[in-house]
């Protein structure tokens, strides 16, 4: 059976380290897992979307998400691993968890930020939420 691994990527160094780990780990397996890269864009506030048309908002999310995914996609392509990339919009942790469930993933891989950075505080809370919300194993990479 082919397994699928989800990697949540925000473009940060830990999230790219997570991609590197997945490449090494997947490369050592006889049956290569399908790797799903996802970037979740937090929905814009209603104060903005009220004045900007839906197409522009969608375009904005798509561009920002793809910019975050570009390096990760290149890494996987260079490693020759089967993968797909997805940009989603919504509340970050539940969106990651639901997507993993829908796609039948067997593992969620995320970058773990250290203490002491603002990103670390935000990301740390997302990691914590994902761990709480999902029934899947979560692998955290620094």
């Amino acid at each position: 059976m082919n397994t699928a691994w989800l990697i949540a990527v925000d473009g940060s160094t830990p999230s790219l380290n997570a991609v590197d780990y997945a490449i090494v780990e997947a490369g050592s397996r006889a049956a290569k897992p399908l790797i799903l890269l996802i970037n979740v864009q937090a929905a814009l506030s209603g104060d903005i979307t009220r004045f900007v048309d839906a197409g522009t908002v969608e375009e904005f999310h798509r561009e920002a998400g793809e910019a975050a995914l570009v390096v990760a996609k290149e890494k996987l392509a260079a490693a020759g691993l089967p993968h797909s990339a997805h940009v989603l919009v919504g509340e970050v942790a539940p969106t990651i968890v639901e997507f993993a469930k829908d796609k039948g993933c067997s593992l969620i891989i995320m970058g773990a930020h250290g203490f002491g950075s603002v990103i670390g505080l935000v990301m740390g809370s997302i990691t914590t939420k994902v761990i709480h919300l999902t029934d899947l194993p979560v692998l955290l990479i620094k």
């Binding site: 090494v24 773990a112 203490f115 990691t127 761990i131 709480h132 955290l140 990479i141 620094k142």
Partner: protein, 147 residues
């Protein structure tokens, strides 16, 4: 690439899941396991003016810890052996549990820490917050959180 899993256990219901989950994972990866128990140090508040009494308390605490850690690691080893997974037992006594887990994992040359998270309950969140989260923050090694 993961050949040596570091699995801290504390004797709770969850740590039994950590034992079974890590053994299953070790079988899949062909990895070995180091099981680890940290016993909390006696808090300073138990210091007594009576030196003899204090020493008795310390000894009592240590022997209780020794028995608890020994029994737990014995159980873990038994399960690992039954499954055919190589197992090393390791224990420590410390004030700072999470930090001790991280240091011990790095010193014993492990390449991944495996822990179990609690359910979504409030109590679960509280308990999860106390050690697993600190380990995630402190550890340079990858941390696998199982349910």
């Amino acid at each position: 690439m993961y050949k040596h899993l570091f699995v801290p256990v504390d004797g709770s219901e969850l740590s039994h899941r950590a034992m079974d989950g890590s053994i299953e994972l070790a079988l899949q990866l062909g990895a070995r396991i180091t099981g680890f128990v940290v016993e909390p140090d006696l808090p300073l508040s138990t210091l007594s003016r009576d030196g003899g009494e204090f020493m008795d308390r310390v000894k009592n605490h240590e022997s209780k810890n020794e028995t608890h850690a020994g029994a737990l690691l014995g159980q873990f080893e038994q399960r690992a052996m039954t499954a055919g997974v190589a197992f090393t037992a390791h224990k420590a006594t410390a004030y700072r549990v999470a930090q001790t887990i991280v240091e011990a994992a790095e010193q014993s040359d492990c390449d991944m820490i495996v822990m179990v998270s609690h359910s979504r309950s409030r109590v679960g969140k509280f308990v999860f917050g106390s050690h697993t989260k600190d380990v995630i923050i402190d550890s340079k090694l990858p941390v696998l959180v199982l349910r």
